[in-house]
């Protein structure tokens, strides 16, 4: 695949390439440093849950991974490919928007507020990127889109506009829309925070299904039950740094750090 041809992927020679590799990633908005030298690794097929108080930089970190935000310092690579830069003989070159867009195709993102396109039906939402970005023929795009909608349990709602769907249904359409690009990595930014409690389950179920199929996922969430059940690892962030990370079961039941303890006592 493409990672074999990437010159920058030094670790590819050793045969192991993590899906996401963040090395001392920092991000500032003006003088406000939101991410402070974050280093972490997500393996292929791993589900990493990212938790932390509001303003700790979780969304910013996710947005850095698909280059919606530009790093201030550090390196970030997905599947061995440096994000946002090309590295040729030791020098970094900023990517043209077109190349960055190409990288984003392989990274699906699901937002807290769904962000479905309101002027398109569920089906059109799911078909849009495969049609315009990948240039798939319409019949094929529609077939895949209908399959995906069926997979998230919404085959019946394909022709509905988002305004006529419940929050849970909208979020499932949004997941189908991201999956339509056949991403190798899925980013979820508090996918259930905007939902009524009784709708949270249906979205988490879809995500569990995805995890079972081996999708690599980074999930920002406050659903500790989900983290415990589905997560392979848990990262606790506060103030732009990774405070603690490890097996979700261990971190949740026996947090080592004071700040983790304080946060968990509030959410659990």
């Amino acid at each position: 695949m493409s990672d074999m041809t990437t010159p920058g992927a030094a670790s590819a020679d050793r045969g192991y390439v993590p899906m996401v590799l963040a090395e001392q990633v920092s991000k500032s908005f003006g003088s406000h440093e939101v991410l402070k030298s974050i280093s972490l690794e997500v393996k292929r097929g791993e589900v990493m849950c990212l938790v932390g108080p509001s303003g700790s930089g979780k969304s910013t970190f996710l947005r850095c991974i698909n280059h919606l935000e530009v790093l201030s310092a550090g390196r970030l690579s997905v599947d061995g490919e440096l994000i946002g830069y090309r590295e040729t003989s030791g020098k970094l070159y900023e990517m043209a928007p077109k190349e960055a867009a190409k990288q984003r195709r392989d990274i699906g993102m699901v937002f807290q507020r769904f962000n479905l396109f309101p002027h398109m039906t569920a089906l059109q939402n799911v078909m849009e990127a495969p049609l315009r970005v990948k240039g798939l023929p319409k019949a094929q795009a529609e077939r895949t889109a209908r399959d995906l909608l069926a997979r998230v349990g919404l085959a019946e709602r394909a022709d509905y506009y988002p305004a006529h769907l419940s929050g849970g249904q909208q979020q499932r359409v949004a997941i189908a829309r991201a999956l339509a690009m056949e991403p190798k990595l899925m980013l979820f930014d508090e996918p259930t925070s905007a939902l009524d409690p009784e709708l949270v389950g249906e979205v988490l179920d879809v995500m569990k299904g995805l995890a079972k199929e081996g999708m690599t996922m980074i999930v920002v969430t406050h659903e500790m039950g989900f983290a415990r059940e589905v997560g392979d690892s848990l990262v606790f962030m506060d103030g732009g740094v990774v405070v603690e990370s490890g097996d979700p079961e261990l971190v949740l039941s026996n947090p080592q750090h004071r700040r983790t303890q304080a946060f968990l006592s509030k959410v659990l």
Binding site: A101, F111, L116, P118, V133
Partner: protein, 345 residues
């Protein structure tokens, strides 16, 4: 409530009202309707005054209705009406295209591009259109020839301004450049009205900036852009009467004045011109109605598309409009005309 998943599909009016009709078993309210006597009195007074005005106008010699009838479909007038329409359409099309470009420029992160757009707005919005049209008419005095090529070198192409640009072209240029400044603000407001999450979602899917604009942002901003643009078109139709400043004199207003100069009777020809302006305005309003409907898809919940189907709005009309929908099933989709208007009397 049985499986809303299955019958909520918008299969048709027959199935959807059945669901909410469940509470129909309750006793209908029997009450004497509230009377509005003053409304009635007011309506009658208005109608009488209006009728008197019409009768009066019909017999008032100054209006000279026979002359109005004679010139309404006069070839010179109908041709001038066409010219006015052309002026409007060309100017608006150019203004909209230019307006979109200017709006995008104003939102650009590049400060030079941004200030350029701002400067354009400052000049063209800050001076009267009549003055601008006059200046365009004098353009050949300022620039006697138009040269295309590299500055300070011998031009590749050069032509006389007077020969290259007819007064019609100058009128279109003057009107459209002025209008573009207003359109830019309308488009900008539309673009800003779209939630930022939309751009983010499109970008995250790998869509390019231009795809994001044309497929996601612009279609949604249309809902905000169209109503004021409709106003601008109508306003432009009337502003064309100022092209006499260029001077261009084949539009509706100039023509009707020319004719009345021959007949020494200005009032009937003013009426003729007004009737034509009103006719075009009415057509434009109908067009606007359909455009608005088209771009309200999925967003304007008041008028759900058939596809939007089964949810709340439909059953309600299904109940209130039952006798009517039997007479004319076609009105169901375009429900606005007629139904609401009959009431007030």
């Amino acid at each position: 409530m049985s499986t809303p998943n299955l019958n909520g599909r918008g299969a048709g009016p027959a199935s959807s009202p059945a669901d909410p009709a469940a509470p129909a078993a309750s006793v209908p309210i029997k009450a004497i309707r509230l009377r509005h006597p003053w409304r009635m009195v007011f309506a009658i007074v208005l109608i009488v005054v209006f009728a008197l005005a019409i009768v009066d106008a019909a017999f008032r010699p100054a209006y000279d209705w026979p002359t109005v009838a004679k010139y309404l479909f006069d070839r010179r007038i109908s041709q001038a009406a066409l010219v006015t329409l052309e002026l409007t359409v060309y100017s608006m099309v150019i203004a909209i295209v230019l307006g979109v470009i200017l709006a995008v420029m104003r939102l650009s992160p590049n400060p030079v591009v941004k200030s350029l757009a701002w400067f354009y707005l400052w000049v063209f919005r800050g001076t009267p259109v009549y003055v601008q049209l006059t200046i365009w008419g004098l353009i050949s005095l300022i620039y006697s020839s138009i040269d295309i090529g590299i500055p300070f070198m011998h031009p590749w192409v050069s032509f006389e301004t007077n020969a290259a640009l007819s007064t019609f072209a100058l009128a279109v240029i003057g009107l459209s450049l002025n209008e573009a400044a207003y359109m830019a603000e309308i488009v900008r407001a539309g673009l800003l009205a779209v939630d930022r999450g939309q751009e983010e979602a499109a970008t995250a899917l790998g869509m390019s900036w231009s795809q994001t604009m044309t497929r996601v942002i612009l279609p949604q901003s249309m809902r905000v852009i169209i109503p004021p643009t409709g106003n601008e078109v109508i306003s432009m139709l009337k502003t064309t009467s100022l092209v006499t400043a260029v001077p261009f004199s084949f539009d509706l207003f100039a023509r009707s004045r020319d004719i009345s100069a021959e007949t020494f009777n200005p009032i009937p020809l003013l009426i003729v011109a007004s009737i034509w302006y009103l006719f075009f305005t009415s057509i434009l309003m109908v067009g606007q109605y359909f455009l608005e409907k088209r771009f309200a898809r999925g967003i304007g919940d008041r008028q759900p598309d058939k596809k939007g189907g089964g949810s709340n709005p439909e059953p309600i009309t299904g109940v209130t409009v039952v006798p009517e929908s039997e007479q004319a099933p076609a009105t169901r989709s375009t429900r606005e005309p007629g139904t609401g208007q009959g009431g007030p009397s």
